[in-house]
Symmetry: none
Subunit: 279 residues, 2 copies
DNA sequence: AGTATGTTGCAAATTAACTTGCATTGAGGT
DNA sequence: ACCTCAATGCAAGTTAATTTGCAACATACT
């Protein structure tokens, strides 16, 4: 039984722009889509309902109703009524901003396993473990994650290069990419400038590419060899945090530590403490 | 806005046997009813679909669609994080590394509000809002958070300086600290080298100090003027993530946006998107 | 420029879902 | 036993949702 998200991934290559938008919208507010009609979905992003209907078929469902049923199955949680009532009552106690934030983060984290599974994580980790050198590409807020990953990878004995600066800088630094290297990219709200040429180059140079991203993930062109994506906490136009993608990063590091014979998790942390004590 | 259950109660007296059965069924499996059609519901207990349609009217809804929408609103939880995690973990035979990680993070986040409250957050935010310049001090993995905060504060129009490099560098950069400035520090496993002299200097220079930290927080010497701390996910000697402190950072930024008249949250994000589109 | 290919909106056709008038049934009252 | 009336099913009618052929448009490739 293939999950909806899996199907998105499978056909991501063959999707049209309008279909990408649709999927993005579904990922962004699955509940509303699961409860609404094809027209609702189409209208919410301003395409024709026919396009929604066609997307359902393209994804392998017999019709839109079947597609919606699958979305419901995957995204609408089954809860026993008793637990639900308890939950609702608990929320009622005048939350406060911090609790709201925490709640959002927790919700987003809880949904993470809808989008990323252990297998794809493992595959991605293998890529990084096998890589001779790792190049990291991140813009905007994602740079915080780039810094994090750079440190962690360094500590595991990887040669790491951050690709930064303007287009020319990135181009120059990216020239080093070759077969046996890996390119790790981050992308959130939209496809970053310089993404396309950089990943194009990586592909031609024979480097493996890996992207960690938010809902844009599936619409990135060219697609990376490995994609790990999940929607972030907070609404589309609201304050969005890096909690979810950071969890992906952490999981990735854990997976690497597990399969890389050179480092055990304990050593990793001991070494980390040692380094921090001296630096 | 009356809830569905309330309406059941109100009209309970005037209901026919078939209608009673229907309501019983709705209460027994609200999810299925909320996602299904009038016929589905009717068939599930062996009455005619027309009866379901009539029940909706009797309960005061304009039609069955309106009735179902109300059921969805009341019973399909917008978000059900805790249950979701529990579910995932329960059903999985040997949950898998990703779920383990997620669960740890969620638990740690859930505990966060035992350590940090809205009031101290607000006070800390005021400090940063009022500061002329903000200096950031972070070592090790915390640098990822420093990068994050630097970007966010910059975007809010603050003058920000990262204190990096070796002892001498930090000393030189820290000399700029004066009255009206704020020093934001991060500390996790232990008190960082250079922490003591730097914060000592800040105090003498009349700068306000703020520390975001893990469990070491309370044992830092000298103590900062404001301390926000909470234990991180994972055991003491295990792999520890930055999720919890990052949540504190995010909450802090949110609090700042709320009290700083110069920035609204929306503007902040809009601006952010704009910047990212151009950079 | 011209052509082939693919994408999307439009609108008509189809299908599913829901509503309602009418007929049947059965319970309670005369 | 007969009548009345509410409850329910039936089926035709109505409305909403979905599908699909077609044309317009865009794009990439001669």
């Amino acid at each position: 039984m293939t999950s909806v998200v899996d199907r998105f991934r499978e056909v991501a290559e063959q999707l049209t722009p309008a279909e990408h938008q649709l999927i993005k919208q579904i990922l962004a507010s699955p509940r509303d889509v699961a409860l609404g009609t094809a027209s609702d979905l189409a209208q919410s992003i301003g395409v024709h309902e026919a396009t929604a209907s066609r997307l359902a078929k393209k994804l392998g469902y017999p019709n839109y109703a079947g597609f919606r049923a699958a979305i419901q199955e995957d995204f609408i949680v089954r809860t026993d009524p008793a637990a639900r009532v308890r939950n609702t009552l608990r929320q009622g106690t005048e939350a406060g901003p911090l609790s709201d934030l925490i709640q959002q983060e927790v919700e987003a984290l809880a949904r993470l396993d809808q989008y990323v599974d252990d297998q794809s994580l493992l595959t991605a980790a293998q890529t990084l473990v096998a890589a001779r050198r790792v190049f990291i590409f991140a813009r905007g807020n994602a740079q915080a994650l780039a810094v994090l990953m750079e440190r962690r990878l360094r500590r595991m004995g990887r040669a790491v290069t951050q690709l930064g600066g303007d287009g020319r800088d990135i181009a120059e630094q990216g020239l080093g990419l070759g077969s046996g290297d890996a390119l790790l990219g981050f992308a959130f709200r939209r496809q970053p400038t310089h993404y396309a040429p950089l990943f194009e180059h990586a592909r031609k140079a024979g480097a493996t590419t890996l992207v960690i991203s938010g809902t844009v993930g599936p619409s990135l062109r060219p697609a990376a060899d490995h994609l790990l994506f999940a929607p972030r906490a907070g609404g589309q136009d609201a304050f969005q945090t890096l909690t979810v993608p950071m969890a992906i990063c952490n999981a990735l590091v854990l997976a690497m530590a597990k399969i890389d014979p050179r480092v055990s998790l304990e050593n990793l942390e001991k070494l980390g403490q040692l380094i921090e004590a001296f630096e």
